[in-house]
Amino acid sequence: MLEVSGLTTAYGEISALREANLSVGSGEVVGLIGPNGAGKSTLLNTVAGLLVPRVGRVEFKGRDVTGRPPEELLKAGLALVPERRRIFVDLSVEENLRIGGVTVPAAERGDLLDEMAELFPVLRDKWTTSAGYLSGGEAQQLAIGRALMSRPQLLMMDEPSLGLAPILVDTVFELIEALRAQGRTLLIVEQNASRMLEVADRAYVLRSGQMVAEGTGTELQSDERLFDLFVGNRPSG
């Protein structure tokens, strides 16, 4: 469904992402792990249209969407749950969800909202509360629900467990499992590598803007070199 090839994105002088290649097949859960500053967010943001790459190509459902703006990608079925959630704190839970569905015809939005209420009972209880009062975990759920409102075919998430207490991290990953069970396609950037590898079908390891490893979840989990890969240790000797 998603093909990324040779993607290079730079911030001025800094090459945050160099020649990245990645693919996500329909129904797959793909993880993108690596240390901080590796360029994982940059990759998602480039795919989502927030950044324009210098070189490279992004293909979504067979169509070249490199450099297209976010509005277009959303219409095409690609949604992003941004890093640190970025929910609209002045709006209520319902309004946050509504805004997520702004590209969907108004008639269908009602049904979608009902779906979200089902999927996120915690949010249903706080439907009219201002989003600023939500806890970290609830905010994360709201951010995911908001993205789901656009009926994406590929849902991307940027560090969903960031800043959450361990119990809430569990909730997030349970949610990811539930989405996977629904048959959704997911591309997830995560700091928490071991949790991610448990749920992922496949994963990529990114370090200093470059892909350094690729494999199935199980393969990478049992790879002893993982820590070294992360922190860039040269093999000793």
Binding site: E71, F88, E95
Partner: protein, 295 residues
């Protein structure tokens, strides 16, 4: 006591118009972080439109919608021609751009029309009064207050219950994330300017009815009132702008009736001074324009 109530009604009457102006300023500020010093030009332009229409024999019934339409169109034109090109620029550039627009419009009227004051007839009922208990209430004030409340309700409805209003509020809260949700930046900014124009148009109707005339510099006073009121209420807040407008109207009326004449004529400068003092002693109370930075 009677005097106080009288002042109250006068203050509400003035304050209504200021509230509409302030809200127009605040709406634009919300989406663009631009303090629109050219807001008053909407009054100037629609004022001339009213003058020409009335001169040509139109009735006020027809002129009122004309004024509003002209205000909205002018607002959109200004956005297209000037402000769309400086989106995302720093405050320095934004402020000077809006000043530039103000001067260009002002000077064009001065040049291509005339510097002299154009008077036009006011509707007959403007000076009528009626008795309310022991008070003499102006029909005009009543109409202004009622219409303003209706407008504010309507605006609240649009903002709270329509998709457009939701997009506007989301964009004002976090423009980039709104884009991520599929909100189109062009649409939302133009919508904001249209709404701002509409509010200014309604305010303009009353401003013109009260003034009975227009002149190239007509826009300066309403602009100042709108900007000052929006500042009092805290730049980021729409509700605050409305409150600020009413507060300003009340303060003006009270000052004028309480202070001796020589000082009362300083009212505008006094308001500016008070706002400056507010900024000095409570800088956190008024919204900070600088965005939170990531160190």
């Amino acid at each position: 006591m009677v005097e106080l109530l009288q002042n109250l009604i006068d203050g509400l009457g003035r304050g209504s118009i200021y509230a509409l102006l302030a809200l127009g300023v605040a709406v634009v500020f919300g989406v663009m972080h631009l303090l629109n010093f050219a807001h008053g030009e909407l009054i100037t332009v629609s004022g001339y439109a009213a003058f020409w229409a009335l001169e040509a024999g139109w009735s006020w019934t027809l002129t009122v919608p004309l004024v509003i339409v002209v205000a909205v169109l002018t607002s959109l034109v200004i956005e297209r021609v000037a402000f769309s090109r400086v989106r995302g620029a720093d405050q320095f550039t934004l402020l000077l751009t809006s000043f530039g627009v103000h001067f260009v419009v002002f000077a064009m009227f001065l040049l291509y029309v005339s510097a002299s004051v154009k008077t036009f007839p006011r509707p007959g009922w403007v000076t009528d009064t009626y008795a309310l208990g022991s008070l003499r209430v102006e029909v005009f004030d009543t109409v202004v207050i009622v219409v303003t409340l209706a407008t504010l309700s309507g605006t609240t409805f649009v903002l709270q219950r329509t998709t457009f209003g939701l997009s506007l509020r989301a964009a004002a809260a976090d423009f980039d994330t709104a884009r991520l949700m599929g909100v189109r930046s062009d649409s939302v900014i133009r919508g904001a300017f249209a709404l701002s124009g509409l509010l200014a148009g309604i305010a303009s109707v009353f401003w013109l009815m009260r003034a009975g005339s227009t002149v190239p510099s007509a826009g300066i006073d309403p602009m100042l009132k709108g900007v000052l009121a929006a500042l009092i209420g805290g730049l980021g807040s729409l509700r605050g702008a409305v409150i600020g407008g009413f507060a300003l109207g009340m303060a003006e009326v009270l000052l004028r009736s309480r202070l001796p004449d020589s000082v009362a004529s300083l009212t505008e400068g006094v308001v500016f001074l008070l706002i400056a003092l507010l900024f000095i002693f409570r800088p956190q109370g008024l919204v900070s324009v600088d965005h939170a930075e990531r160190v």
